[in-house]
Amino acid sequence: MNPIRKFDLTAIAGCALLFAVLQGLMFGGLIGPFWELNIILICINIILSVSLNLINGYTGQFSIGHAGFMAVGAYTSAIITVKLGLPYELALIVGTVAAGILGFLIGLPTLRLNGDYLAIATLGLGEIIRICILNIDYVGGASGLMGIPRLTTFAYVFWIMIFVIFFIKNFKNSAPGRCCLAIRENEIAADTMGINTTKYKVMAFTLGASFAGTAGALFSHYFFLAHPASFTFMRSFDILTMVVLGGLGSMTGAITGAVLLTFISAYLSDYPEWRMIIYSITLIVLMLRRPQGLFGSVELSREMFRLGGKKDGRAAEGK
């Protein structure tokens, strides 16, 4: 069997085991409702950070409008379940697709920009989405869409997260994924080599946006409401922080960043006055000591587990 596929299977088995253990602890009451909530929040944040990593880390486009796509997913899925009374599975799909379509439409014109300009454009777009929602009375306007049932369970969120992680991992290893990496390394060179850069940039952007929509749908169906204040640019920055902290361009990093920051936030909830200060200091120290993020662009891989094995066990891919 292909070694990559073998590693994937092992990893999925590991995930299944992790799932069984966590779910068991939840049933057994060893993980209380508070930590259950935070574990679900971690899973949602992982979906967000991994999908943003696809845009920012792999394709090298600096997008900071992720919360906007999350809002689209949250609201459209809530309309499906609350206003139309249709099943949750459909809501998840519609939320994903809606955010994806919007990502495509927005991506086409804005991805002509690069660097700082793209960042500003996406920041603005995220805010535009939020302000639009704020003014649509059908979805509750400024007071938010209330009365959403809690349909997100740990099983849903966990397996969707695993799906997204594997999807993006496989995407990166596919031909379009390689094109994205080439664009990140040098857009002009990639263009010269015959890569349709616009196509692949929009593709990565659309995929990232649609997964953000999925995360939004899971989010609104766990926290009972979709509220414009939940999707401000601060949320986008939170997600960006997770990606950058973990290491831009490393999925392992994005996951670690999401886990770490959600835990820090939950831990510090006893000290609300200090939370932001400690949070910021953690970030500053980390950025000073490891400006490339926790993982740099390194991925956790099979070789890393082989203790005392090959000398350079890292998947060499970096810049």
């Binding site: 209380g32 508070f34 935070n38 938010g144 409401l225 939940s230 909830s269 939370r275 490891r290 890292r314």
Partner: protein, 392 residues
């Protein structure tokens, strides 16, 4: 570099493990022998941090008073456990979950933002822990719009917006002794429509009549034609439940047209900008209803304002006052229930009677909204002056 990575991963893993293990571990009950834990789910950071910080000051002061007098249930001290909502609804849900399942509080005070209260209400209702919001005014907080039933474990210390209309009608009819009212509604705001509806209802019930009803839109600047129509109808009182921006212009133009009858409105008037827009002289003989005034002359309020100033060096705002009342309500409910069991506290809270707070006396109706007095504030030469307290 490689060692560094591994070390960091190890460190991370260690931290996560530690987090999990503490998460699963210890759980001391909210009501031990010596203390009763009450949660404060407040906006400590974020855009509405001023609400939460004022509220926390109010609760701290109330608990200090109660504990100094010997606490509750024969000597148990009240302890406040604060969780931050970051001024955001999903964080409020998170905080509510933490207070209830980790800290095992017996009741929760807060949050103040309506959306946050509604989001978190699913958690505290599921866990059967009473929650009281000092300033959440949305009607859906205590009544679930899906089935029209009262949420058994949600209460509020403030009255809901439309109630101000009822109160103002009583004040106009009884205190100002007017009989013919004109109502001027901001058609873009539910707040305004609600107040106007309840005003009209109560005013006509009392025996007055609404002789003319006109509407305007937010951002309008010229009200002369509307006001001329009102002048022709010759009312002896005008009710304008709007926001200060338009209200200021309306009052200014009304006085210019020679309409010199009393004008009144709701707490949308409460802004330092109003005297600037309308002009100090034009504002004489105008009134608005509000939840609380620190100038309220009741003994309990005087004592509260004095203590608050001593402790925090500023006058208490409405958030501090209502949080103070919420804390007293929780304490009284615990005493009435003779128990620190959350479900019993909720039951006692719904039946509370004889409660005197700094913002007025409180009993709860069947929808867990307080039936309480409102304060009427008068503008005297552009300065807000406490006029009277009105019972519905």
């Amino acid at each position: 570099m490689k060692r560094g990575t591994k070390l960091l991963s190890l460190l991370t893993a260690g931290m996560l493990f530690a987090a999990l293990s503490t998460g699963c571990g210890g759980s001391d009950s909210g009501a031990s022998d010596k203390t009763v834990k009450v949660g404060g789910l407040l906006e400590m950071t974020g855009g509405s941090a001023s609400f939460g910080i004022s509220s926390k000051n109010g609760i701290d002061l109330a608990f200090k008073d109660i504990n100094a007098k010997g606490g509750v249930l024969g000597g148990k001290q009240l302890a406040l456990v604060v969780a931050d909502t970051k001024s955001e609804a999903s964080e409020a849900t998170n905080g509510m979950q933490k207070l209830i399942s980790q800290d095992k509080v017996v009741a929760v005070i807060g949050p103040n933002q309506s959306s946050a209260v509604i989001a978190a209400s699913a958690i505290n209702n599921g866990a059967k822990v009473p929650g009281i919001t000092p300033m959440g005014t949305n009607p859906d907080i205590t009544v679930n719009p899906a089935d029209g039933k009262t949420r058994a474990y949600n209460f509020r210390a403030c009255f809901i917006d439309p109630f101000q209309g009822t109160v103002m009608a009583s004040f106009a009819y009884d205190d100002l002794a007017v009989r013919k009212a004109a109502v001027l509604i901001d058609n873009t705001s539910d707040y305004s429509k609600g107040l106007a509806k309840f005003f009209t209802e109560n005013f006509t019930k009392k025996g007055g009549s609404v002789v003319v009803e006109e509407a305007f839109l937010q951002k309008d600047t010229d009200f002369k034609s509307t006001l001329t129509k009102i002048k022709v109808a010759n009312p002896d009182f005008i009710y304008i439940p709007g926001y200060y921006q338009e209200v200021g212009l309306i009052i200014k133009q009304a006085r210019e047209l020679g309409i010199d009858v009393p004008i009144a409105g709701g707490d949308g008037w409460d802004s330092a900008k109003l005297p600037e827009i309308a002009g100090k002289a034009a504002l004489n003989d105008t009134y608005f209803s509000s939840l609380y005034s620190s100038d309220d002359a009741s003994d309990i309020n005087k004592k509260f304002v004095e203590e608050y100033q001593k402790a925090y060096n500023s006058k208490p705002d409405v958030f501090a006052a209502l949080a103070y009342d919420s804390a007293l309500l929780v304490a009284k409910a615990i005493e009435d229930a003779k128990s620190a069991e959350p479900a019993k506290i909720a039951e006692a809270m719904s039946k509370i009677s004889g409660f005197k707070g700094v913002s007025g006396d409180v009993v709860f109706d069947e929808q867990h909204n307080p039936i309480k007095s409102a304060v009427i504030i008068e503008y005297v030469d552009g300065v807000q002056t406490f006029k009277t307290k009105v019972n519905p």
